[in-house]
Symmetry: C2
Subunit: 581 residues, 2 copies
Amino acid sequence: MLRTHTCGELNMSQLGQSVTLCGWVQKTRDLGGTTFIDVRDRYGLTQLVLNTDTDAALREKSRELGREFVIKVSGKVLERTNKNLKIPTGEIEIGVEELEILNAAKIPPFLIEDETDGGEELRAKYRYLDLRRNPIRNNLVQRHKIGQEVRKYLDALDFIEVETPVLIKSTPEGARDFVVPSRMNAGEFYALPQSPQTFKQLLMVSGFDRYFQIVKCFRDEDLRADRQPEFTQIDCELSFVTQEDILNIFEGLMRHLFKTVKGIDIGPLQRMQYADAMRLYGSDKPDLRFGMPFVELNDVVKGKNFGIFDNAELVVGINAKGCAEYTRKQIDELTEWLKRPQIGATGLIYCRYNTDGTLKSSVDKFYNENELAKWATACDAQPGDLILILAGQTDKVRKQMNELRLEIGGRLGLRDKDQYAPLWVIDFPLLEWDEESGRYHAMHHPFTSPKPEDIALLDTDPKNVRANAYDLVINGTEIGGGSIRIHEKGLQSLMFKHLGFSADEAQKQFGFLLDAFEYGAPPHGGIAFGFDRLCSIFAGLDSIRDVMAFPKNNAGRDVMIDSPSTIAEAQMKELNILTTI
Amino acid sequence: MLRTHTCGELNMSQLGQSVTLCGWVQKTRDLGGTTFIDVRDRYGLTQLVLNTDTDAALREKSRELGREFVIKVSGKVLERTNKNLKIPTGEIEIGVEELEILNAAKIPPFLIEDETDGGEELRAKYRYLDLRRNPIRNNLVQRHKIGQEVRKYLDALDFIEVETPVLIKSTPEGARDFVVPSRMNAGEFYALPQSPQTFKQLLMVSGFDRYFQIVKCFRDEDLRADRQPEFTQIDCELSFVTQEDILNIFEGLMRHLFKTVKGIDIGPLQRMQYADAMRLYGSDKPDLRFGMPFVELNDVVKGKNFGIFDNAELVVGINAKGCAEYTRKQIDELTEWLKRPQIGATGLIYCRYNTDGTLKSSVDKFYNENELAKWATACDAQPGDLILILAGQTDKVRKQMNELRLEIGGRLGLRDKDQYAPLWVIDFPLLEWDEESGRYHAMHHPFTSPKPEDIALLDTDPKNVRANAYDLVINGTEIGGGSIRIHEKGLQSLMFKHLGFSADEAQKQFGFLLDAFEYGAPPHGGIAFGFDRLCSIFAGLDSIRDVMAFPKNNAGRDVMIDSPSTIAEAQMKELNILTTI
């Protein structure tokens, strides 16, 4: 090795030892006759002291140094006069005897410090420099640790990691596929997998019993902070299990990860039915770091000639604890915020429960204080609270109220990144109606099984068929989801029919799976976790970008390597394709 | 769980317990009144006994069963009369009280047994059934174990697994890229990585210090038994290390894997210079499970008016121990085998050292017995041995002799799949001349550093510049390779120049790396192992197909899912491409 130690490991126990360190110059201070250098590597920071007064060669060399130069130094471990007890190496310094510059460095385009002055675009172009910053590197080190612990936990439970192919077949269902022209099969294309779903089910048919894989998946969708064209899943499947078994095993995984990676015991996970999540939080991924459940007020508010409430399918309120002091201006701003097209509310009704015990609403014309007192009781409001109410069509108003609840929770500081509120949302509907295509879509995916007692409803009341499907939600983010699968050809064919596939289409796209179900398919189920999202939750980040080493921007570009890019005519010719641009 | 135990875990210690098993019907024997069923899962096989005489329902149910039906049975653990001590569950059987058919199965198209009657094409189409066979499943279980142990070993040495992108940029160097048209960047393409080479080097520039990844890579090349369009690498890179450090760390990895996965101590690894490997074995990946080194005979054989030897650049022999009894016919066959276009030898000279001490060659006209005795001495031959000699242009004759040596080694049973002879081949040449393009290519890749003492030869004698490059070879197969990289912009630019890149081309293709080298790049090096090949060596297989769950055939097709396939016009339109077929 070029070094005897890393920059993070020396302390008082090595006093007097001769050591060699390698690393990057973090900063240099010349105190006239003595130069101090902080040298940095992945493991930490060590102070170097150079007696430039007496050693001319060292003086010359040290003057060449700039930020981010790569150096190798040898010397003795000395006790520091001014100790820095904040870092593990802060009690010692190295009295440098030899200094070698391993590589020079131009001045970096932004500060390589925890708080940098670099803009997003610049840091993306020089991602290799951005990755030098502690916060980003720590995210990736933690990601590595999470991956290792996932594998340890699953391996101990007899799960086998099996790699499934990346070059597969395009299917028209779901999101858009990325495709890969085949040179050897002219005019044909592979597709990159959106998930290894059918392969993992085939592995169950093969008797693999317990499968997992930490695997790249691909979706050609428009991008946002928590979406990338390529992302990573922790993908799992098991045979001969019930939903209960799956929830228990993966609740165990989550508790293991929080314990080993973050040192937190998150305790047993809550469970909530989809219908309750929608009713109480207007979302299938409620943020349960705080309460503020929806209160349905139809019975309390209707019949007082206030048309907006009387004509509404749903009138729903939340209690913004301690917000009675909100000014009219603040409430107006909140109303405008709710009216933005992204949310689309038509208005906001409020009722202040003043600290003096009086009640004051924005609809005093229709409701007297006695009536408002009933609202307060329904919402469990106390003096000092503010009741916020939305009214309208049920699905819409729930979505709007979900946004409002999250906003108020945020303003009240109830969404602390160091608090974790994981839960299982269960009993999802099997199907959801898609206005655009005028047919039902699978809410999870076409391989999810209906609850046996609901199968009869498939023909008569498809909307109310519940699935054996479940999501893991942490802090309002869907971290994973899965289901007990269909394992019988007949039921799978019926499901395809309900999703609008003709028998021919179903056979063409998924014939291999339907065939496989005829050769002894075991009952099975599984789950997949968004590894990037899980890592971002662990890192306390809203975006998945900074838990990935080399993410793409919102246009799907890697600005560092300048990709995608044009390719040579000859290459296209070999692939039997042309571009139409 | 649907079961209380797996089919591999019950033994005498559970006698009398009530258990429930799930699995596949391996076979059924009806002995009139009693039916025996072997039920199988991933973990093993358990014998079921059904008293069909007294239980009519059980009798009816058991008559429906066929091979590969999926069943669930409950009953008591009983001691067997006829014990089968070859399997862990062979002392017990389950006295079945309840039998449930979880799924029926059509008769499989081939036998689900260790030795199957299915042809390659049929097994590929029904890969999910082929994967049920023990040998294939065991390969994949072992692959999982190797992967876990790789991660454990590297994690303990502070390596961090970092995922690098799959959608990257096409480069004209090396093998053909698979490309992916970008919808959001019309007319542009991503490429799938042939390896994460530049990304892992950037991670070193970022100060990650020790990186690894078990990662899919892609090459659009014509396929063979040990090549697939997508394959998996154990990819590693380290900073501040010498070649010696890398060899030691990864020798440690190999010893760890052999120890933990196969229970074998392979001992310290041999090392051999590239030049010696070529001289002694005619290959940069010699199979050292057996000796039979080349003996260069120029000095011994020349000058006796035998034109073939006199005109040859190299005359080289091997000693086929104990093969003096080979008949003339056998030797003729060997000669014909050598003359096939794949090998291209023009002829084979032999010299028998008969057990009676006499020497007899195919060129007795030119060499008397005294002279032949010198051949024997040079080749360390004893009575009973056969000396085989080839002559011609050095590179060609070495290649041919390599083939002959491997063939003879195989015939003599010296290439035992359960024997392992790993070695490091070191000091590879930096460049190799490519006749076709009329220029030098990088033997390893363009990022490999020349040995410092040879840099001066780059201009004068490029062929003899040695690289800081090394390969790990096991049993004649290259399992891994790596190098100390260039970490200075100047040297990297010089290297690109020698490889025929203009400065513009180099900047366009690899500008991000050249730029990165200016911002404080540490000295670094690394290695990548072919994970599929490593697994196939561990499994004793010549092909990598059966250590992959879903391999493609020689035409790059997955015949099970029928991929690649045509895609919809609309999809192509969105991607701004057309096919020319």
